[in-house]
Symmetry: C2
Subunit: 230 residues, 2 copies
DNA sequence: GTACTGACCGATACACTGTATCGCTCGGAT
DNA sequence: ATCCGAGCGATACAGTGTATCGGTCAGTAC
C-alpha cells in the first residue's frame, strides 16, 4: 500500500523525468561533472548517486569500489586524448600537449595520473596510436621512449597543477606570484640560507607554465632523438 | 577531584613511561612509521595519536590539518635526500636516484610527490644544493632544467610504484608479470584491437625497472646537455 | 492459475574519517 | 588568595565507503 490516503486525495508522484536507465557511462559522466566542479573531494558515491537520482548502493551494481570509479573516470578522459601528427616526434609531442590540455580542463586528473596502471580501453587505444606512430623506431626502443615521455608528462602536469592551486589559494594573480613567489618564499630566501636559490629566483628570467612545459619536453625529445638515430 | 574513592583505596596510575613531550618531529616520525607499514590509508590522526599515547585533538596544537602533516612527512623524507657528485649532470642524476630510492623505502611518497609545492626547509635545502651545483650553467637555464628533471622523477616514480603495487596485488612475481603482463592484458592484446602494442609487447626486450628509469633519465640529461652547451 | 525461485534493490548499519566546539584543569601572575 | 589564560581532551557532527539482509517483483515450472 502506498499510503493511508485514498487515490483521490493523493497527489500524483512528482513528474520527474525518468532518469534513463543507469549505465557506467552515465555514472562516470556524473562523477566527472562533480570532480570538475569541486575537485576529487567533491566526488563521493552518495553525491554521484543523488546526482543521478538513485540510491547509493545502486552504483555497486556497476562498479565494485570507488577506486574502480576513479579508474573509469581517468579512462574516459583518455578517450578525449587522441594524439595526432606525422612521425614519432610530432605524435609524442601531441600526446603530451593533449594530456596537459585535458588536465587543464579536469584538474583532478593531475591527482590520479600515474597513480594506477592505465589499462582501460581508451588508454590502450591511445597507447596503440602512439606505438603505431613509432613504427620506424627500433622495436626495443619503443617502450623506454614512451615510458619516459609519459613519466615526464605525469610529473610536469602534477607540478603545474599543484602550483596553480597554490596560487589560487593565496588569491594572487599569476604575475604577482611569479614576481614575489609568495611572501613566505620571499622571507625565506631573504634569510640567506639558500643563496644559490635566491640568486636564481632574483636574476633568472621567469618562464610561464606553457614555456616551462614545452622546454622540458624538448629536452627529453632531443635526447631521445639523439639516441634512436644512432 | 579524581574520583569518588579515597586516595588510600585508589591504585596509583599505571606507570607508563612518560611519552617524551610531544613535538612535530615525534608526530611526523610516528606518521611515517604508520605509512611505511600500511600505506597512506594507514595514517589517520587517531592512529597517529594512539601511537603516541595521546588524544587525537592534541595533535592540532602542532599541526593545523592533516594536509599539513602530510607536507611535514614529505619534507622529512627530503631531509634524507642529499644529492652528491661533481658537475651538474652527476648532481642531477644523484638527486633523481636518491628520490627514487626514498620512494622505494616509503612507497607512500609516490602518492604525495608533486601533489603540492615543496617549500619545506629540507626540500629547499635540497633545491639549494642542486642549484648550487649548476653554478656553471647559464642562470636562465637553471630553473627549466631542474623543473624538467623533477617532473621526470615524479612521474617515473609514480608509474613504477603503481606498477609494483599492481604486481603485488596479483600475487605474481616480477618475471611472470613482465612475461605475461597479467592475464587481462594478454587477453586484451589477443583480441587484435591493438596490433602495434601487441607486437611491441611480444617482440621487444623487456627492461627491468632500474634500467627503464635510468634510460629515461639519460634521454632527458642528454637533451639538456645538448642545449646548455651550445 | 498458482507456487516458487532468483535476481535485484535499497534501507539500514557499521566502522571510521577529519575537525569544531567548549567545558575543565592547572600553572603562573597579580 | 585570586584571577586569568592557555592548553587539553571528551564529545559531537557531518561525512565517508561499503556489508548485510529483508523485501519486492519478474519470470518460470508445474
Amino acid at each position: 500500500m502506498v499510503s493511508g490516503m485514498l487515490v483521490w486525495e493523493r497527489p500524483e508522484p512528482p513528474n520527474r523525468p525518468v532518469p534513463a536507465p543507469l549505465s557506467r557511462e552515465r555514472i562516470v559522466r556524473a562523477a566527472i561533472q562533480l570532480a570538475d566542479a569541486d575537485g576529487l573531494d567533491g566526488v563521493s558515491l552518495r553525491k554521484v548517486a543523488t546526482a543521478l537520482d538513485v540510491r547509493p548502493m545502486r552504483l555497486y551494481g556497476y562498479i565494485a569500489s570507488k577506486e574502480e570509479l576513479l579508474d573509469l573516470m581517468v579512462d574516459a578522459v583518455h578517450g578525449e586524448v587522441r594524439p595526432v601528427g606525422d612521425g614519432w616526434r610530432e605524435v609524442l609531442q601531441s600526446l603530451a600537449e593533449a594530456t596537459r590540455h585535458a588536465a587543464h580542463e579536469h584538474e583532478w586528473l593531475a591527482d590520479l595520473l600515474g597513480g594506477r596502471p592505465q589499462l582501460g580501453p581508451h588508454a590502450l587505444a591511445s597507447g596503440e596510436a602512439v606505438v603505431a606512430a613509432l613504427g620506424d623506431v627500433d622495436v626495443d626502443a619503443v617502450m623506454p621512449v614512451v615510458a619516459a615521455v609519459n613519466a615526464y608528462v605525469i610529473g610536469a602536469v602534477r607540478r603545474e597543477v599543484a602550483e596553480r592551486r597554490a596560487e589560487r589559494a593565496t588569491g594572487m594573480d599569476e604575475k604577482r606570484w611569479q614576481a614575489s613567489l609568495g611572501p613566505y618564499l620571499e622571507r625565506t630566501l631573504a634569510t640567506g640560507r639558500f643563496p644559490a636559490l635566491a640568486t636564481v629566483v632574483r636574476d633568472a628570467a621567469h618562464l610561464d607554465a606553457d614555456d616551462t612545459f614545452r622546454i622540458g619536453l624538448d629536452f627529453l625529445l632531443d635526447g631521445i632523438e639523439a639516441r634512436i638515430s644512432r
